[in-house]
Amino acid sequence: EAGVAQSPRYKIIEKRQSVAFWCNPISGHATLYWYQQILGQGPKLLIQFQNNGVVDDSQLPKDRFSAERLKGVDSTLKIQPAKLEDSAVYLCASSSPGGKETQYFGPGTRLLVL
């Protein structure tokens, strides 16, 4: 079974530029998560989708971050414009429906904003 796929793996941009990350979850997983992980910290949930609907985006900085999952499968997370403090690893995870079970993570995208 293929795991969660993410691209790109690394991205370097200058502040005020825009960037987009892509995630393809495990086949059949209805729930998709985007996390931000700053160096030395645990992951912080940005947004959670159930199929193509948003379950929770309370910690997503909506003035600059946006995410979509139009067909209920793959998802895109965008930052526009980027700030220095957005430098982090962006992790995508998926899980099967049913609530409080295991999440499966992709390798992450490491973003550096200069």
């Binding site: 645990g42 992951p43 992790l91 609530g99 409080k100 295991t102 390798p107």
Partner: protein, 110 residues
């Protein structure tokens, strides 16, 4: 706010020794999970222990859960260089979010 807090923040041991790390959490839980994160890799699920379980084993991993103390421990026996990683505990918040601690950074010295 973080639900889980791992202790210690960093641990360095010799290969072959056992490594123990602890996690404390704040609210009632259905289950608690441990994840590992290697350099350059994403988070990998290690083990899930439910609130009605006290101990669980998986290979060289042993997890205990004490709901009265709101704490869990992860024991890795006979450590190997490949165990070098950060280890996180995670619990479910009230709104179906996984809440993570800051992790324990484990270094296995050859």
């Amino acid at each position: 706010s973080q639900q889980g807090e791992e202790d210690p923040q960093a641990l360095s041991i010799q290969e072959g020794e056992n490594a123990t790390m602890n996690c404390s959490y704040k609210t009632s839980i259905n289950n608690l999970q441990w994840y590992r994160q290697n350099s350059g890799r994403g988070l990998v699920h290690l083990i899930l222990i439910r609130s009605n379980e006290r101990e669980k084993h998986s290979g060289r991993l042993r997890v205990t859960l004490d709901t009265s103390k709101k704490s869990s421990s992860l024991l890795i026996t006979a450590s190997r260089a490949a165990d070098t990683a950060s280890y996180f505990c995670a619990t479910w918040g009230s709104n179906y979010q996984l809440i993570w601690g800051a992790g324990t950074k484990l270094i296995i010295k050859p």
